[in-house]
Structure formats: C-alpha cells, structure tokens
C-alpha cells in the first residue's frame, strides 16, 4: 500500500447557515492523481481552499506530509511543498510571465527574513524559471506582461507557478477549462509527467473526459458531502453520481 500524503477527516466548512463542505473524508496517496468531481456548488473549491489554508475548517482535520495542517496559513502550506492554481486565475498582471514564475521559485527564500534579502536576478533562478515555462509551453511569452496573456496561457502560467512551489502535492482547480481542444492533450501529458516526477496531484475538473482519463481514483462531492469514491469506471456508473449531475430518474430517461 502506498503512503498517505494528504488525509482529510470529517472536514466541514460552514458559512453562516450554508454548509459548503459537510463532513468530507478522503485520502490522497503519494504519486497519485485524485480527481475531485461534483456539480457546480458542490464544495470542491471550498475543499481546495481548506486544504491550501485559505480557509480554516469549521470542523475536521487535515493531515499533510505527516503533520496536522488544518488552520495553517497558505504561505506555510506552500513551504510544506503544496502548490496550487486558482479557478479564477490570479496572475501578477504587471510583472512579466518569467517574473511571475520567479516569484514562485523563491518559496524557500521567503521562509526566513535573512534569506529573503538575497537577490532574485541571478542566472540560476532565471534558468529554473525558463525551464518551468518550457514545460508548460510558455517560454515564448516569457518577457510579456502577464496581464496581457489570454486565459489559456494564464492557466498554464498558474501550473508553472504551482510546479515551482509544489514538490509534494499540486492542486489544480479547473486548469483545463477555457482551453482549446488542441491545448488539452499536451497539458494532460504534462500532468501525467508531474506524477512520474513523484508529485501527487489533486484536481478539480469539469471536463469529464480529462478527469476520467487522468485520475487514478475519483471522489465525487454534492452539496458539500461525499457521495462516491472509487476508480473512474466505477464512479461513472454510480447511480448517486448520475443523479447528482442529471437529476432523479435521469439515468433511465437519458439512457
């Protein structure tokens, strides 16, 4: 059995009366690609924000890389080797594409004040950032302002930044949405290669073909609760899952 990297236990986040995430548990193993699926408003992104430290859970526990990590702020999670992208892209618009990635390359530097006084303009850092841009296919755009890039490029820029940070786990929040068909295949290759490098991936995806093909296992959420977990093939046939996506009785009518 592979080692558990991320363990989520009875996780809950309530916003007033809204139970956005309501008692979700799952494990993510090392070198695993886990798909987090569910209809709009199921609580997937809230789950991401809880794991990455943006929100503090109302209840439940998160263990990451051997330590209890719920309640740790995002910059601490990043320092533990967790990189993430955002569903609504958040580029540093006035910096160049290359500098955007260089910011992420400094994740070790920001941990101590003394180390953060070193310079970031060196050739080694630049080389590392260029390599990351090459991996996502953005090297040609390195010197452009990030704010000028189209959405598809920004999604890839976010992945490059997440790669610089996440040496253990990368959270991809709908990184494939808004991409053209011919952009999807290379990106799927990239995600598959990330896993080969020993990094785990947790992905939220609405593109079913991508999610089914990439994920080793899938967890399905609906209304903040986990309704299914298993291999892609099993989950796709699960009546509860079909009901969540298509509505009650939908399975017979659609079929």
């Amino acid at each position: 059995m592979k080692k558990v990297l991320l363990s989520v236990r009875d996780l809950a986040k309530h916003f007033g009366g809204l139970r956005a995430v309501d008692g979700v548990s799952f494990d993510l193993h090392e070198r695993e690609i886990l798909g987090l699926l569910g209809p709009n408003g199921a609580g997937k992104t809230v789950c991401f924000n809880l794991i990455s430290g943006v929100y503090t859970p109302t209840a439940g526990e998160i263990h990451f890389a051997g330590i209890r990590s719920d309640g740790l702020p995002p910059h601490r999670m990043a320092a533990l080797g967790l990189g993430r992208t955002f569903q609504i892209v958040k580029p540093f618009s006035n910096l160049t594409v290359l500098d955007n990635v260089i910011v992420a390359c400094g994740v070790d530097r920001y941990r101590s004040l003394a180390r953060s006084f070193g310079g970031w303009t060196g050739a080694a850092v630049r080389k590392k950032a260029v390599e990351l841009l090459e991996r996502v296919g953005l090297a040609d755009e390195a010197d452009r302002k990030a704010g000028l890039l189209p959405l598809g490029h920004l999604r890839r820029l976010e992945i490059a930044r997440a790669l610089a940070v996440g040496y253990r786990l990368i959270l991809l929040d709908e990184s494939f949405s808004g991409l053209r068909e011919e952009e999807i295949a290379p990106l799927m290759d990239l995600v598959a290669r990330i896993r080969q490098d020993g990094i785990s991936v947790l992905l939220i995806e609405h593109n079913m073909r991508v999610a089914m093909k990439l994920s080793d296992r899938i967890v399905v959420l609906d209304h903040g609760r986990k309704i299914a977990e298993g291999l892609p093939g099993e989950v796709a046939r699960d009546p509860l899952v079909i009901e969540a996506y298509l509505g009650r009785g939908g399975s017979s009518r659609v079929a």
Binding site: H75, A79, F92, S116, R161, V165
Partner: protein, 296 residues
Amino acid sequence: MNAYVVTVATLVAIQSIVACGLNVVVGYAGQISLGHAAFFGIGAYASALLTTKAGLTFWTALPLVIAITGLVGLLLGIPSLRVRDDFLAITTIGINFIVEAVFLYVPFFGGALGIGGIPRVTFFHVKMKGLPYLYLCLAFLALVLLVCRWFTRSWAGLACFALREDETAAASMGISPVRFKLLAFVLGTAMAGLGGALYAHFMRFISAGDFSFPVSVMLLSMVVLGGMGTLWGPTLGAVILVSLPELFRPLLEIRFLIYTLLLLLMIRFQPGGLLGEASLVRRVFSRLMPGKEAPR
C-alpha cells in the same frame, strides 16, 4: 548658486528621501499610505529631542532616530496592515492626525511652541550649512536610492511586488503577507525618519504643523506624479512639486490651482506617472535612444 536656490534644492533632496520611503510602501508593496508625514515628523522630533535634550550629536542620534521611526512604523503597521485599500488609507490618515496631535499637545514635545535651537550638523568640527549641507542631503538621497535599488532586486522586494499584484496568489507561493508588508512599512518609515532628521537640523526649528496631513498628501502626490514603483519617480516628483510652487510664487493666489490642474492632467494622460510604464518620457527616450532602457 545663491542661498535661495540652495535652500530649495536641500528641501527637494529631503523630500525626495521621504518620498522614496513612501514609494517602498505604496509603489513596491501596494499598501496605500496617507500618513507618511507622521513618520517624517517622528524622525524630526526624535532627532531634535535627542540633540537638544539628551545632548547627542546628529551622527550619534541618527542610528537611534532611524531605529525609533522604524520601530514606531512596525508598531503602527501591525494593526494598520490588517485592513486594505481605502480602509488602510483612512487608518493611515488617522495615524497622521494622532501623531500631529501628540506633538502639538504633549508638553514634552514642545507643544504649540515646537522645538527650537536644534544644532547644525557638524562634520569633522565643521558646521554644515548652505552648500555642504545640500551635499550631505544628496549623499543620503543617493544612499536611499541604492537601498531602494537593492530592495527591488531582493527576494523580499519581489515578494512585495507579488503582494501588490495579488495577495492570495502571493501567499500560495510561500509569501507571508504580514511579514513582507511590515518589512516594506518599516523600511519606508525608517527612510522617512532619516528625512525627518535631516529636515530638523536644516530648519533648526520644528513644530507639529510641519508634519500635518497636507504634507502626507503632497508626499503621495510626488510618488504618483513621478511614477509609483519606479526608482527615480519619487525624486522627480519631489523636484517638480517642491520647485513648482517656488517658480509660481509670483502667482501666489492661484498657484495651488495650477498645481491641481497639473495633477488632474497627470491622472487623465499619464496615470502611471512620469516614469511609469508607457509614459511620455519613456516613449520619447526610446525614440531618441533606440535600444536603451529609460531610467525608471
């Protein structure tokens, strides 16, 4: 140079130093501050008190003055930087009024009479006034510009740029928003403290009104006019905004009208500042000297 020109130039150099400090906070870290004159004042009062009451020389007092101003910046920054944008602007205005009121009403700070009899700076037993003092201020300005240049090339500076652009994304890359915002705030206020000390020993009499809210607005105008986040922008802004009122002195009645008009034209046509991205100055420069980077 006649004494009048030297006086104006010295004030330009001092205001440049303070504006550079504000640029670290506003331009680099993206944290709006409308209370920077408070820290200018804290530096001036600290140096004035240490030299008149504690009997220190300017040179022995200066490290203390910078440390005190930076420390007060840290203490006031901790609560202030919890709020963002317009709320931060209002909080910093509040800081300015409180600090000014403390100088004005607490007898220890001289009250309404201010502090007089501040000694001149001596350098190897020579009293510095006129041109030598201008050179001293310019030397400190050069030092401040070097620190700013170093900061923009350090990871800490890059962290501040990232926070300015998007705090959530920056945090997801290991950047502690609190730590690096406070760092920028301390660095910026320490520079204001240095400027304050130079101001106190230049004027040799200071009072609370010298560090009131309009001074903060003027300082922010310098940064915005020159170009937020640029290296030379605050200095250019200080040159223009200190010398323009002097040039328009014959038009005393309407000089603030001209000054307002200038700012409105800037906002309309050069929102990035004179040295900002794609500004007129930069475009003309690249036309005249193709292939060379314009100063920023």
